[in-house]
Amino acid sequence: MIDVNRQGEVWVFAEQHGGLLEDTPIELMSKGRHLADILGVQLGAMLLGDNVKGLAKKLIQYGADKVYLAEHPLLEHYQANSYTKIIYDLIHKYKPQIVIYGATAVGRDLGPRIASVTKAGLTADCTDLQIGDHKTTDGQMHKNLLFQIRPAFGGNIIATIINYDRWPQMATVREGVMAMPTPDTARKGQVITEKVQLSPEELPIEILEEHTRTKKVDLKAARIIVAGGAGVGSRDNFRLIWDLANCLGGAPAATRAAVDLGFIDHDHQVGQTGMTVRPSLYIAVGISGAIQHQSGMNQSQKIVAINNDPQAPIFDVAHYKIVGDLNEVVPKMIKAIKEKGFKEAIGEGK
C-alpha cells in the first residue's frame, strides 16, 4: 500500500497478447485521460511483455503522457506471479493514485493478486469511474476520490465504492463500457524503460497449450443491434432476428436464455455475463428484460422492444413499445424498412 498522494498519476494496465493491444485497455485510455485531466495529473500506461516497445507509440496516441515499459523474455506470456512482481515494483517506485485494469481474464487474475500484495483496495468489474468527494460518518471530507461504480447483487443494486486511506485506488473495468478513443497521431509522450530482473522461480506456471479464437461478431462496433430472447422460440425462428439485423445492416445478438437454449452462440450474448453494448439502436425481440440483460444494453441510444406481454420489464427501458406477436411484427417491420428506406432515399435524391 502507498499513502494518499494527490500528485500521483492515473495508470492503465496496457494488456497485450502477442504484441497486440487488447481492446479493453485502449477503451480505458479514454477514461484514464478523462480522470487524469480532472485531477490535473499525468496519464501513465504500464506496458509489460517481450519486444513490445512498438506499442508505446500507440498508447501515447490513445492518450498516455508516459509509458512505463518493462521488457523481458520471461514476460512474453502473462503469468500472475511475474506480472505482479513487476507491477508491485512500479507502483512502489512511482506511487500512482489510480490504477485501472480491464476486467478481462488476465485483468481479473492479476488485479486481485496486486491488491493483495500492495494491501490496497480493488473494485471488480466497474461499469463507470468518476471523480467525487466523500464525507465519512465522522465528518471527515475526502476530496477527489475515484468513484468505482459497479452493479452488485446480480445487478439489482449499483454500488459506488471508494478507498480513501490506502492507495492506489484500483479497479477493473468491464469490456465495452467505455468508448474507444480515436488515436491522435500528433500526440507526444515519454517512454520510461524499466530494468527487469526475473528468475524462473517467479514463473511457477508452465503454459502447455493455448487455443484462442477471434469472436465471430463485433457487437461493440455495431451501430444497430437486433437481439432475440427466449420468446423467439427456436433456433429456426431466430432467422427472423438475422433477417431484421441484415436489412438494417446491424448485428444479431441474444440474451443469455436464448444462448442457453442454443438459438445462437455465446459470441452474440449481451448482458451481465456477455457483452455490454451501446449502439444507436437496439431492437429487443421476445426479450422479457431481466435486469442482467438490461445492464448490458440500457445505454443504447434508442431502444425498440417487441413483446407480446405488455407488462414485460423490457418496456421500462424502451423508447418504442410494440405489444404484439413477434412473428407478425418482425416481418412487417422488415417490410416497412425496405419500403421506407427506398422512399426516403429517393426523396433525399440520393
Binding site: A80, R113, F153, N156, I157, I161, I207, L208, K340, G341
Partner: protein
C-alpha cells in the same frame, strides 16, 4: 498419492431468484427477499475436490466464513461428501471486503495441512472473483483461475485447463496450488441420503449452546455452559461437531480484519430504478411500424 484439499465456500443470497424488492426503502439489502443458498460455483469447487479424493485418496475440508447461519452451507457440503467442515465466524469479521476476507481465510487455511486449495470462480452476490487470487498471494502459492475441466495430477505436478475468455489454456504447476473453478468444470454431485441422515444433527458449539438454552429456559449460565461442554464432547465423538473458529483462535491481526482491514468502502448504494424514459407505444400494424421507422430515420438512428 493422496491429496488434502481445502474448499472455500460461501453462503450467498440467491440473486438470480429475487422474490420481492431487493432493497429496503432505507437502502439496505432486503435479506428476506433473497433466500440463502450455496454459492453455485463453490459447488463446482467442492465437486472437483471430491473427485480428486475419489481418484487419489486424501481428505476434503470445507471452510466458510460467515454468520452462524452459514452452518447450513457446511452441512450441505457434508451431505455431498466433504470429510470435515469449519465455520469461521466472528462479529469482528463484519464489513470485511475481499482483501480482509482473504486475510482471514489465509489465517484459517494455514492451520490445515493442504495440497490444493479450491474456490468457486466467483460468488453471485458480489461477482468479484477476487478472493481466490488474493488468498493465493497471501498463502504464497501459485493460482490457476477459471479451471473449466477436471484436473490431472501426477505426483506433485498438476495440469489444468483454464478458460481465458476467448479460448482456453492448458497449464502445469507444482503443488501446493490454488484453483478457482467455473460452472463448466463438472456437474456437482447431489447430497447422499445416508450422509444426510448422519449429518442432519451436525452443529457448531455455539449452535449446541443455543439449543441447550432453548431447552432449559430456567438454567443459569454456568449450568448451560456445563451442559453444552458435555453435549459437544458427545457430538464430537460421533463426528457431528462442526468446528467453529474465531479470530482469536486464528491469531489474526485485527488491523487486517473487518472494517479496518478493508481499504474499499461503500460510498453509496442505489437500488436499480430503471430510468423512466419516455416510452412511445407503437401499434403492431404496417402504418404504426412505418411511422416508427420514419422517426428513426429522421433522428438519424438508422441510415
Amino acid at each position: 498419492m493422496a491429496y488434502n484439499c481445502v474448499v472455500l465456500v460461501k453462503q450467498v443470497p440467491d440473486t438470480k431468484r429475487i422474490t420481492g424488492k431487493a432493497m429496503n426503502d432505507d437502502g439496505t439489502v432486503n435479506r428476506a427477499a433473497l433466500p440463502a443458498i450455496f454459492n453455485p460455483e463453490d459447488l463446482n469447487a467442492l465437486e472437483m475436490a471430491l473427485d480428486i479424493r475419489d481418484r487419489f485418496g486424501g481428505t476434503v475440508t470445507v471452510i466458510t466464513m460467515g454468520l452462524p447461519a452459514a452452518v447450513a452451507t457446511l452441512k450441505d457440503a457434508l451431505y455431498r461428501g466433504a470429510d470435515e467442515a469449519i465455520l469461521v465466524t466472528d462479529a469482528r469479521c463484519a464489513a470485511s471486503d475481499t482483501l480482509a476476507t482473504s486475510y482471514i481465510l489465509c489465517c484459517a487455511v494455514k492451520r490445515i495441512k493442504y495440497d490444493i486449495v479450491l474456490c468457486g470462480r466467483q460468488a453471485i452476490d458480489g461477482d468479484t472473483a477476487q478472493v481466490g487470487p488474493q488468498l493465493a498471494e497471501k498463502l504464497g502459492i501459485p493460482q490457476i483461475t477459471y479451471v473449466e475441466k477436471p484436473v490431472e495430477i501426477e505426483g506433485r505436478t498438476i495440469t489444468a485447463q483454464r478458460n481465458i475468455g476467448n479460448g482456453w489454456q492448458k497449464v502445469k504447476t507444482q503443488l501446493p496450488v490454488l484453483l478457482t473453478v467455473t460452472g463448466e468444470a463438472n456437474v456437482p454431485r447431489i447430497a447422499a441420503a445416508k450422509k444426510m441422515m448422519k449429518y442432519k444433527a451436525a452443529m457448531t458449539p455455539a449452535g449446541v449452546e443455543q439449543k441447550i438454552k432453548a431447552e432449559n429456559p430456567h438454567a443459569g449460565a454456568d449450568e448451560i455452559k456445563e451442559l453444552a461442554v458435555q453435549k459437544c464432547s458427545e457430538m464430537d465423538k460421533k463426528g457431528l461437531l462442526i468446528e467453529q473458529w474465531n479470530l482469536d483462535l486464528l491469531k489474526a491481526d485485527l488491523t487486517w480484519c473487518g472494517r479496518s482491514g478493508s481499504p474499499t468502502k461503500v460510498h453509496r448504494i442505489q437500488s436499480v430504478v430503471l430510468a423512466a424514459k419516455e416510452t412511445k407505444s407503437i401499434e403492431p400494424t404496417d402504418d404504426g411500424l412505418a411511422g416508427m421507422i420514419h422517426e428513426l430515420l429522421e433522428d438519424k438512428i438508422i441510415a
